[in-house]
Every structure is written in structure tokens, then in C-alpha cells.
Amino acid sequence: MATKSIRLLLLDANVVLELHRLGLWSGVVERCEVLLARTVLDESKYFEKDDGNQERIELGREIETGRIKIVDVPLAALNSFQQRFRATFLERLDPGELESLAHLVEIDRGCSISSADAIVWRTLGALRLGDQGASLEEILGRIGQTRKLAEHFTKRSRELWTKKGFDEGLRGEATR
């Protein structure tokens, strides 16, 4: 198997859904070493096509063949991740994002995370891990694809919210 150019992308469910909608999922899996948190897998069941019809997302074969890897984050790592933040901050994240971020922060800092949510970028910024975020727009750029994307999938959005999170981190508004 050829070495993949981008190592470890923890994707959140919104990115998985959007890649399927755009028909670019296979291309990304081909070129990147993709990690999915178990909860993200649970949240990624269907996507809506442009004609409005729903289509099932089938990842079973890619998991079986090792083309994507599923991670389960142990409770101790989740607790330790939670301890970093002020009360109710993490309530803003959905479980897939929580598990992905906990994996990145507590287990494997060598990977990047991709999301459509401002709150994920804010969290990374607050933890001074902004460099480990990658918007969908940036991922597509790295594999030589361009698409017109919604604002929340863009590099601009990621940078804006990462900066905001960084400032919040400095002011002690997010983290303990």
C-alpha cells in the first residue's frame, strides 16, 4: 500500500456527510490516513443528496480493509479532557467532536482534526492547538480538489474561530 500523503485526519460527522454529498469521500480516503472516532461513525449514517434523497453511508468495508481506522477513546482520557474546561463548555460539542478532540489532545497529538463547527476551532484555539485543525477546504486543496463550499467548511472560518478560541484561552474563559 502506498504511503498516504496526509497522516491521520480525525473527521467529524458533518465533514463525513459533506464529503459523501460531494462525492469526494473515496478520494480523501485514498490520499489520507483517515481516523474516525466511534461516535462519529455512529453519527454518520445517512447523507442527503442534492436531489433531496437520502442515501445510506456504508463504511463497513473500508473499516474491514483498514482503509479507515476507528478509535475508541477510554473514559479516563475523556475525563481528563473534560477537566481542562470550564463547566458547560463541552456541552456545546456533540459526542463525535468530543471524542475526536479527546483523542487528539489526550492520546495522539500527531493528527489533525477536520470539522464544520466553530466550537471545535474555538476549542483547539483555546488549547493552543490551532495548527492541528484543517478545514474541509484545506483538505480538498491538499488532494488537488476544489469545490465551492459553505462558509463553515472554509479555511477563513477555521482561522477566524481558532483566533477567537485562542483569545478566550488567554482570558481563561474556556479552559480551567
Binding site: N14, D72, Q82, T88, E91, L93, P95, E97, A116, I119
Partner: protein, 378 residues
Amino acid sequence: MPPTPAPIYQRLRTARARLHLTQATVAEKTGIGASSLSEFENGAREPSLGQIQALATLYQRSLTWMLGEEAETDGEPIVLWRQRPPAEQAAEISARFLRLSEQYRNLELWCGVHCECDLPEWDASGAQQFHSYDAAALAKRVRDELALGDRPGEGLLRTLDEACGVKVFHLAFEPSGTAACTRSESFGASILLNKNNVPWRRSFDIAHELFHLLTWKHFRSGSIGDDSLASEREESLANTFASNLLMPEEVFRLAVQRRAGGAPMGDVEQFYGVAREFGVSVDAVLVRLKQLFGMKDEAVESAKLQWRMWARIHEDRTRDDPDELPERYQALALTALRRGELSIGRYAEYVGVSRQKGLEIARAQEAHGDEVDPPAPA
């Protein structure tokens, strides 16, 4: 030093017991095996985050509570019921009601909006007894202070929700007569109405529950017995308050005078007209006639019977199907999403739509020019 958070196995047991659920029922509802549940609750094995989330959803707990962020049981607010449903159903609805109230509070906090409860409070200092005339006086005070006007029935909910910080939810449950309320240091005051009830019934319910919220400290501090049910006396006072609030004496007398022209009111259509005018039920009008005009019990009962027969054919008031979530709650959720205060997935959960729908809403916000919109610094 703060107490060490309870471990997850203990939280899982506590959360299940709170809803009177068996492990078999939980297994059926979540798809998690009963033997796994038993191991989770004994601390023999750890659940995955996905399993914790599934259990948190069923138990109406936040994920952060399940992971040990908040105290395990401290400060569980009392839910005060009017005609409480059977224990298991009451536990389930109460848990849902409290969770929604917490979520509402979170949205207020994340949007940086005022979330204190602004209700006039009855000063209980020195008063041992609460009399009917106190309830009537309190109703007048509330009507004046909240500028509710002469016929507050239809606008009361909006005023409480939008102007007073009272969280009002509509859930469907049986028996149909029930409503509930709660007060908490954390999220303030909340009212639960039965969405199966007709609007004119709910307007009385909301006024009734408002009385409990206003007098919460008086009746709930150090009380003996079951705090989730009010005494007959307290219920009667709440009804007096609601009658006085929704049908102010002078305005009500004028309405009766206008319809009956000085004669005793005895016509079903007249009762119905007054009920429509004040946005209440005919039963509530009859009670008010008894209070203000000394209508005899037999006459009230007879009128109720006539009304039931007449209403089957002629009643034509508009029924509705209220949203479970208040408009203000939904607006705050959208604001929070737009400002990047909560994730798309969490937004979808808070407003009860699919993740896909949440994504569509996020996309539509951008399409309408509502691009990423960082909130002003606190």
C-alpha cells in the same frame, strides 16, 4: 475542597433509578445488552462514549453530567405537579422538563442574554397564613407590574417567556388535566403545559402554575410531605389567583353586565361569549360567576352540564398544536449556532431535528448572509 465526582457506574445507577427503569427496559430502548448494562453499573466494564450518549439521552442527562462534571444529585429541583401522572410517567416527563430547562439556561448563557427570572415575588415575611384575598391581591399586583392588561389570557405566555425569563414548555402527556412547574437556582422558573390541552385550558393552567412560582418559597421551604404535589389549600389558592389574574373583577362584571343586561346570567351562549372574551374555558367563567355573583353550586353544575351538550355541536374556538419548545428558545438556539456557540450536532439535538437538517439550517443561515458572526466580547 469540592467533593470528588461520583464515578460513572454510580451515575448510571442513579440516573436509571431516577426514572424507575429496569435494566431490561433500558436495554430495549438503547440497544445496549442487559449484561453490558449490568457490568457498566457494577464498574466491571466501561461503556464507550457512544453508549454513554445513548444512556444520557434516555436518562435526560447531559453528557458532561454523565462524565462527572457536575455534582451527582445535589440540587435536583422539585417538579410540582397538578394532578401528577403515574410515578414512572411523571419521572420521565419531569426528567425531560428539567433537561429542557437546563438546555434553555445553557442557550441563554451562551448567547449572553439576561437569564434571571423577573417575577414579582410574594413577600412572605411575617405572614403565617396565605388567604384567598392575598391570592387576589397578588393577581392584581402581577397584572399591574407586568402590564398584562384587562384580558391577559392570550398574552400571558408570551409575557412570561419573553419578558420575565420564565421558561414555558409544551409536552404531550396524560391525564390531560396536568401541568407542572419548577424553580431552581440554576435555571430559574419553568412551567410545563400539556400540549394536548386546548389553548383556553392552558391559559388557566399557566396562570395557576404562575401562582406556585410566585409563592414557591412560602409553600416549599421546609414543607412536610411530598413536595411534588401541592396541598388542596394551595391548589385552591392557585385557582383563585388564576381566576383573578385572567378575569379581573371590574372588567369581568362589565362583561357580564354587557351580555346579561342586569339579569342573572343563565344562557350557555352568554357563558361562552365571556369565556372567549377572556381566553378561558366556560368552566373557569362559571367559577368566577360563583365567586363574584354568588352563583349557587347547583346552578353551576347545571350550567356545566348544559354547556357540555351545547359545546358538542356549537363550540367553534380555534384549537392549536403548540411547539414543544418556546419560540425564544428556538431563536436563541439559532443565534447560538450562528455565533459558533454550539455545534451543529448539538444544535440539532437541542431543537429536536436531525443532524442533516441542522446542517441545512447552518447552510441556509449563510445563504441569507448570516455569515460567521462572532459575539461581542463579554
